[in-house]
């Protein structure tokens, strides 16, 4: 009987989560990434976040894809063509496969995680370029925490959080697996704020981001993210401070929104 109740509860939670997904397949968000050079913001790259459905012989899987492309004027100096993707359960956003294929100014790296949620491990594959040509693989089985996700899934899972009843200062954290290491990413809710964007004036949830155990992000409350305070919860604007400077990410265009 207890098992039956548990199963019903689990199904209810899964169903509720599925209904609460603030996005659908076919959503495309484009951003402009700018870097602060001597106090002047310079547009460097375009970042896109896309969702699509992928069909296998047995099921339909949601593909979450983020790409970064430098603007043509920068390609001669530092060409970036990055792809980050995660293949997740379309209802629960449980990740099955993560891929990171980066090409940054001649530096290439490929990372793949195959999740095994039963054994709480990830089969990791890291492929790098050899100096003398060709590539070499590093394969590892990495143990992960129960709720560990990759970076792409975390961004989309963040949009699932309910901020409507959240008190200012309250925080939530996610365990993120990056380069075979787990890091805790914390989000502190800082209240609502209306900001002006290319898609109009939007009331947003303002969040401060921090990563524990690493110095990737600098400053206290210097890394901020604004999510629209509507049902779509689009990440509309972000400010970041890293060891080599600071910059921002601004929304450029949106399409395929669910609501």
């Amino acid at each position: 009987m207890q098992r039956l109740i548990f199963t019903f509860l689990l199904l209810f939670i899964i169903n509720t989560n599925a209904q609460n997904l603030p996005f659908q397949a076919g959503e495309k968000l484009s951003f402009t990434a700018s870097y602060n050079m001597s106090g002047i913001l310079t547009e460097l790259a375009q970042v896109t976040m896309e969702t699509s459905e992928v069909k296998t012989s047995k099921s339909t899987i949601l593909r979450l894809k983020c790409t970064a492309t430098t603007y043509s004027k920068w390609d001669i100096f530092f060409k970036i063509r990055d792809i980050y993707e995660s293949y997740v359960n379309p209802k629960t956003l449980t990740p099955y496969l993560y891929k990171r294929d980066i090409s940054e100014g001649g530096y290439n790296k490929f990372v793949q995680y195959k999740y095994n949620h039963n054994s709480k491990t990830v089969a990791s594959l890291i492929r790098k370029k050899k100096r003398e040509g060709g590539t070499y693989d590093i394969k590892k089985t990495v143990p992960i925490s129960v709720n560990a996700n990759d970076i792409v899934t975390t961004i989309y899972k963040l949009r699932q959080l309910n901020f409507s009843d959240t008190i200012n200062g309250s925080n939530d954290s996610f365990t993120v697996l990056f380069d075979n290491k787990e890091a805790t990413v914390s989000f502190t809710y800082l209240g609502k704020e209306t900001i002006n964007t290319t898609i109009g004036d939007k009331e947003c949830y303002k969040l401060a981001i921090s990563i524990q155990g690493t110095d990737v992000l600098k400053g206290n409350n210097s890394n901020l993210l604004w999510l629209t305070a509507d049902e779509n919860k689009i990440p509309i604007y972000a400010k970041f401070k890293i060891p080599v400077g600071n910059g921002e990410l601004k929304i450029k265009s949106v399409s395929g929104l669910k609501y």
């Binding site: 310079t42 547009e43 993707e85 496969l97």
Partner: protein, 107 residues
Amino acid sequence: MKKIIIILGVISATIAVILSVLPLSNLTYIPAIIALIFGLIAIYLSRENKESKKIIHLLLLITIISLAIATYKSVFNTVEIGNTEQLEKREKESEEKAIEELEGLGL
């Protein structure tokens, strides 16, 4: 004193003109304004002398050209992403491989 100001002005104007033709044209305004200030100070210092002011005029001319290029670029040049053909190909290949991987995971 005047010589130092002119030298600093010429250096700033040269940096400004180089920056204006690079993708970093947004940064032109900083050395250009410095060059303009030095140029104006140099004119002020040399107004009583009857020395040749050609170098100062050249400095101001270079500065104005760099400012014009930077302003033109900021007004008329729109940013556009570079060639993404290779990226799109990689994305497609990645999806195809991912489907194989997912099938291998029993999904």
